[in-house]
């Protein structure tokens, strides 16, 4: 029974394709998987948008949307209908073809990332040897669509937004890759399935997730920073910083094309959270051994949605950085730290089992973090201040 619940989607898929002739079955299975992804993640996107609007509202001591349906749960539907019925405006001087292609390209590319994510036991669409590389290769292509959108709009805000976005995404791709590299180093594989399998072990009922190691924890934080920047979320949402650039690279988009950008952004966030889950949070494995009976896909989606909540939480709290600070942060702080983390991971490996490696690795990381943070703040003349009063 438990086994069945765990594999319900796989079994369902097999049952469905069993109606087809044998030679069609593999292709049909893949198509079915694609279909499932294309249906599931926009649905999750709708839920996330609702969660974001309600959650932000609650953080700001207001209700959030609560008019469409009970507790406002049909708000995403209303939003969807609105964006579908809105006029699609293309600026006269815009480059029509590129303007049209940009959102389409973004959404296609973003969905491709899901192909390699293991969303549950035996629930990977394509088990690829170089799955991680595929994911990053696909992720890198989104920059192109951002550029296309910004450039083709022929709007200064759009162009500035696109330039910012592309610069930011390129800069943060390096720490993103390097922080994931620690995992590859420890697992010895680029295959996401194998990475999850390596974490799906338990000692005293506790999982072997990589986040529960010093280097894994540091790597996770760095990865989180890099993903936030990569998906243009607050506090790194400069490309669409509405107070400066109106809406950044999609200023000149309206109607459904705008909705596609919106979808692309959120689906991209989810896919990159899914990767983070896979790499650091044990993918579909249960957080405690005794919870192993819960279907694996529940854990995966639960963890992804949790990371989305953290994204929302950060958005509700933090102001955004400035472009040069963002770059400095990437190249002078995050990148060196990822390199140090890489070395720490290597040290961990060579120190062998024992408590010493915990102490040494944590000490190195904390020391480096403190030193770099302090010096960075001193260099920028940043720090808390006290004030004098005139009587």
């Amino acid at each position: 029974m438990i086994e069945k619940a765990d594999q319900i989607f796989v079994l369902l898929g097999h049952w469905l394709v069993s109606f087809l002739p044998v030679w069609l079955q593999p292709a049909a299975m893949v198509l079915l998987g694609v279909l499932a992804i294309i249906v599931t993640f926009p649905a999750l996107f709708a839920i996330t948008v609702l969660l974001e609007r309600k959650g932000l509202g609650r953080m700001q001591n207001r209700y959030g949307p609560n008019r469409v349906g009970p507790f406002g749960i049909f708000q995403p539907v209303a939003d969807g209908i609105k964006s579908l019925t809105k006029e699609d405006i293309v600026p006269t001087s815009a480059d029509g073809v590129v303007h049209f292609l940009a959102p389409v390209f973004l959404v296609v590319v973003v969905f491709m990332g899901y192909a390699v994510l293991p969303m549950g036991r035996n629930m990977t669409l394509v088990s690829m040897d170089a799955g991680l590389l595929f994911f990053f290769a696909i992720g890198a292509s989104t920059e192109l669509s951002v550029f296309m959108a910004g450039w083709s709009s022929r709007n200064k805000y759009s162009l500035l937004g696109a330039m910012r976005a592309v610069a930011q995404m390129i800069s943060y791709e390096v720490p993103l890759l390097l922080s994931s590299l620690t995992i590859v180093m420890m697992t010895g594989s680029l295959s996401l399935g194998k990475i999850v399998e390596a974490q799906n072990q338990y000692t005293w009922g506790l999982p072997h997730w990589y986040i529960f190691t010093p280097w894994g924890f540091a790597g996770f934080l760095l990865y989180a920073v890099a993903t936030t920047a990569e998906s243009n979320r607050s506090p790194f949402d400069l490309p669409e910083g509405e107070s400066e650039l109106v809406a950044g690279y999609f200023t000149e988009y309206s109607g459904f094309k705008f909705a596609l950008f919106f979808l692309g952004e959120y689906v991209g966030m989810m896919s990159i959270s899914g990767l983070g889950t896979t790499l650091f949070l044990g993918g579909w494995s249960a957080p405690l051994q005794i919870l192993g009976w819960v279907p694996s896909w529940c854990w995966f989606f639960g963890k992804v949605m949790m990371s989305m909540c953290v994204f929302i939480w950060m958005r509700g709290t933090l102001p955004r950085l400035r472009q040069d600070q963002l770059m400095n942060f990437a190249w002078k702080f995050v990148l060196p730290l990822t390199l140090v983390n890489l070395m720490v991971a290597a040290t961990w490996r060579f120190l062998g089992a024992g408590w010493e490696r915990w102490v040494i690795c944590s000490a190195i990381l904390i020391l480096v973090y403190t030193l770099m943070g302090r010096s960075g703040m001193r260099r920028g003349h940043i720090g808390p201040r006290s004030y004098r009063y005139a009587e």
């Binding site: 040897d129 595929f134 990053f136 696909i138 890198a140 920059e143 296309m148 592309v166 390129i170 594989s189």
Partner: protein
């Protein structure tokens, strides 16, 4: 298989031609990306996953972006009013045909790694990322290091050039 190959090849060639022939420089850069993507697909079609993804990651994710960045920063994105063809097209033609000749010669005279056209490609050994890593760190470690050194020096050089400009600006 051949249909797939021709489709991909057609895509790449079309992209490359467009990159040369289009008027708007940004369009050219985007067409170049299509050509890159075609190449990546060719690699993938040959079961060279690593090379294919690396092609996408590096060429589409970085090089293409670099190209568009350069175009934007140098105001090249404006469509030229007069023709796009250089007056020295003859020289270009000669160079291009020379390069083509060399490449053709190299391709024709190299030995086939795979069985001949009549043999099925299933005989190709599955090259994993691990194998590539081992090869790079073992047999090809010297070339790798030389390339790394070259890139590092290029990076430092770029930084120095940028810094110099900044100092003179102040």
């Amino acid at each position: 298989m051949s249909i797939v190959f021709f489709a991909i090849a057609g895509l790449s060639v079309a992209g490359a031609l467009a990159a040369v022939a289009l008027k708007n420089t940004v369009h050219c850069a985007l067409a170049l990306t299509v050509a890159f993507a075609g190449l990546a697909l060719l690699f993938l079609e040959l079961d060279a996953q690593f090379a294919g993804f690396a092609q996408i990651l590096v060429y589409i994710g970085a090089v293409a972006i670099l190209v568009v960045f350069a175009i934007l920063l140098t105001r090249g994105s404006e469509t030229p009013k007069d023709g796009i063809y250089s007056t020295k097209w003859l020289l270009g033609l000669v160079t291009a045909s020379g390069i083509f000749a060399v490449l053709a010669w190299a391709v024709l005279h190299s030995t086939w790694a795979l069985p001949g056209p009549e043999g099925a490609p299933t005989a190709a050994p599955a090259v994993t990322v691990m194998d590539i890593g081992n090869a790079l760190m073992g047999r090809y470690v010297l070339p790798l290091e030389i390339v790394a050194l070259l890139l590092t020096s290029a990076l430092i050089g770029a930084v120095i050039v940028a810094m110099h400009e900044k100092e003179s600006a102040q």
